[in-house]
C-alpha cells in the first residue's frame, strides 16, 4: 500500500491539522509515514503545501516526485491547481470551492472552477458551508479530509480515532463537530466521485 498526498492551501487554513490527523491514524495503523511541512515565512498568508507519504514499506524521500502523487487535497480552489505537476495522471484532486482571497489579482472563481472541472478525477465541495452545518466553519479543513478519506487507504474509524485523540483536550463539543464534519465530507465524496 502506498498513498502519496499533496496537501495544499494558504498559511493558517489548517493543512497541518489535516496532516496531523492522517499522521496519527497512519501510525496507529502501523504504516510508515513521512511528512514534509512548511514553517517560517510562507505561513504568513502565503501559499503552503505539505508532502504526506504513507506506505506499508519503508519510504525513501521526504518529497514526492513529480507525477507520482496519488491525490491533491486542497482547502482552497486556486491552490489545488498549483501542484498539478505532482499529480499522477489518474490521480484525484479533492478541493474546497470557497476561495481565500488575500491578493488583489485573484483570478475569477468561475475560471478557477473551469480548470478544476477539466480534470479527469476530482471532488469539489463547499467545505465552509458543510462545516458550518456541522457546527463550526473552522472545521472546513476536516470536511475536506472527509471528502478525501475514501481515497486514503486507512480505515475511516482510524481517522475518527485520531480526531478524538487530537481534539479531545480541546473539549467534547469540538470532537463532535469535527467528527460530523468528517462524515459530511465523506458522504459528499461517495455520492460525487
Amino acid at each position: 500500500m502506498k498513498n502519496d498526498i499533496i496537501l495544499a492551501g494558504v498559511g493558517g487554513q489548517g493543512i497541518l491539522s489535516i496532516a496531523a490527523i492522517i499522521g496519527y491514524a497512519a501510525v496507529q495503523s502501523n504504516l510508515y509515514l513521512k511528512q514534509a511541512e512548511v514553517h517560517g515565512m510562507s505561513q504568513r498568508g502565503g501559499d503552503v503545501q505539505s508532502h504526506l507519504r504513507l506506505s506499508s514499506d519503508e519510504i525513501a524521500s521526504d518529497l514526492i516526485p513529480e507525477g507520482k502523487a496519488d491525490m491533491i487535497i486542497s482547502v482552497e480552489p486556486m491552490e489545488s491547481l498549483r501542484y498539478l505537476p505532482y499529480l499522477y495522471k489518474e490521480g484525484w484532486l479533492i478541493t474546497n470551492t470557497q476561495p481565500f482571497v488575500n491578493i488583489p489579482n485573484y483570478p475569477a472563481i468561475e475560471e478557477v472552477m473551469a480548470e478544476i472541472h477539466k480534470l479527469p478525477r476530482y471532488v469539489a465541495l463547499d467545505a465552509e458551508k458543510m462545516a458550518d452545518e456541522a457546527g463550526s466553519k473552522k472545521a472546513a479543513n476536516v470536511v475536506i479530509l472527509g471528502a478525501a478519506s475514501p481515497f486514503i487507504d486507512i480505515p475511516v474509524e482510524k481517522l475518527e480515532e485520531a480526531i478524538r485523540f487530537l481534539f479531545g483536550k480541546k473539549g467534547e463539543d469540538l470532537v463532535e463537530i469535527n467528527l460530523k464534519a468528517l462524515r459530511a465530507g465523506r458522504e459528499f465524496a461517495k455520492e460525487n466521485m
Partner: protein, 540 residues
Amino acid sequence: MNKLLLLGDEAIAQAGIDAGMSGVFAYPGTPSTEITQYVRSSPETKKKGIVATWAANEKTAAEQALGMSYAGKRAMTCMKHVGLNVAADVFMNAAITGANGGLLFVVADDPSMHSSQNEQDSRVYGKFAMIPILEPSNQQEAYDMVHIGFDISEKLQVPVLMRITTRLAHSRAGVARKDTREQNQFKLPEDLKQFILLPAIARKRYQMLLDNQEAFQQLADESQYNQFYPAEDTTLGIIACGLAYNYLMENYPDRKVPHPVVKVTQYPLPQKHIRELYDQCDEILVIEDGYPVVEEMLKGFMDRGKKIKGRLDGSLPRTGELNPTIVGKALGIPVPETLPVPDLLANRPPSLCKGCPHIDSFLGLNEAIEQYGKGRVFSDIGCYTLSALPPYHSINTCVDMGASITMAKGAADAGMRPAVAVIGDSTFTHSGITGLLDAVNDKSNITVVILDNATTAMTGGQPSSAFERLEDICKGVGVEEDHIRVIKPLNKRHEENTQVFKEELAYDGVSVIIPRRECIVTLNKRMRQKFKDKEKAEKK
C-alpha cells in the same frame, strides 16, 4: 519500542535529552527553531534539570554552550545557517580550544532560501574549522547521530558540527528512541590552560587540532554511517550526501541502484570508500544539497582526472534544494507526463497578518517620509521585512541581523537626510544595540524605528530578550530622552503617529521611535488561552 512521530528538528532535540545533554542554547531561526522549542516544552527537560534557553543571539548562545562544555557537561547550540555567521568567532575558536563536555553545533541550512537571505552551506564552515561534520540523511539518523556527535566530541575533545537542511528539519517520520544516558558530572578541563587562546597556547592547541585530523579521518572511514554499496554497472559511480541519498533511492522503487554508491553522512570525506568508487567507475556523479562542496574537492583545480558530474557541470542545477525529480533527471530517468499548472494561477506571497501593528507603523512612516523621496529606509530581518512587498513598498534593504541601524548610519555619514532604520525588538537586542552605540558616539543623523511587538514573531513567538526594557537600553546607550518616542500603532492614531515620525525625521541627531503594540498572533493565542482558563475555572 513505540516510535515517535518527529520532525528532524524534534528528533535532534529528543536525542539531546536522551543522550545526557545538560543544556541547549539558541536564538530562533527557521529552520532550526523547533529544536530548542521542543526541548523547552518537553516534560523531561524540567525533570532532568536541562537548561533550554533563548539567547540574545547565536554568538551568545554558542558561547554559553562552550562554557557548559568547559564545565564538563554536554551542551548543544542550534542556529540557522546565517546564524553561524554571527557565531563564527566562537565557532572557529572553539575548534582550537577544543571541548571538555561534549559540544554539538547544530546548524540548519536553507537551500532554496525558503525563509532566508542566502543558501550558504555550513559544511564549508565545518571544513574551515577542521572539525568533524555529521550530515544525517533521515530523522532516525538525526536522532542517532546526536549520540555519536557527543561521543566523538568527548573522545577527541573537539566540537562537532551537525548540518541539516530545511527538508529534514521540517519533515516528520517515525523515530525509535535509544536508552537514555545520564548527564555528565561537573568536571573542569584537565588542563586549566586549554581554553586560554594566548598565542603560545593557541599555537599548541592548533597543532593538536591538526594532529587530530587523522583521527577524524579514521572515524569517518570506519563510520557505519558512511557506506559503500557495490553494484555491477561501473560506467557511473554515485556519491550521495545526507538527504540526497533518499532522493537517489526514491528513483529505484526496488531500492537497487545499478551503479556503485557511496553514502556520505560523516566528514571528513570517507577516503577509503571514495577511492574505491573512483578506481572502479568511469565517471562520478556527486549528489549533495547546498554547495558543490564534495564535487569541488573531487574535481580539484586542475580537473584532470575522471569526469566528475554534479552541480558544476549542469547535471544538477547549480542552486536550490534537490528533490527526487531533479536527481532522477541527472540519472537519465524519465519524468512521467503530468498536467501543467494553468496560466491563470496567481502568486500568493506571504504578507503581514490582518491587524498586525507593523501595518500601522509603516503607513505612518510612509506618509511622513514621502516629502523626502524614496530609498531612505534601511530595514532588518523579521516579519516587517514583508513591508518591502505591495501595498507598502516601505523599505529598501534587508541584509543581516542588525544591519538596518549601521547601514543607516553609514548612509547618514555619506550625507543622506533623513536616514531611517527599521528594526524589530528582538532583532534590536540580537545585533542592533552596538550599532546604535556607534551612531550615538558619532552623533549621526539617523532615526531608528524599533518595532516593538513584544515577541520574536516570524519564528513563532519566542520571548523577546528586551521585553519592556527598550527605552532603558536606548537611554543607557546614550540616546537623548526627548528623542525616544513611544507610540501606539493603531489606525485611529494615524495622524498623531505620522506627526511623531515627521518630527523625528527632521531632528539632527540620533532619535528612536518605538511603535509598541503586541503581535496580533501572540495576542490572539493569549486571548484564546485566557478564555479557556476562564471556562475551566467556571466549570470547577
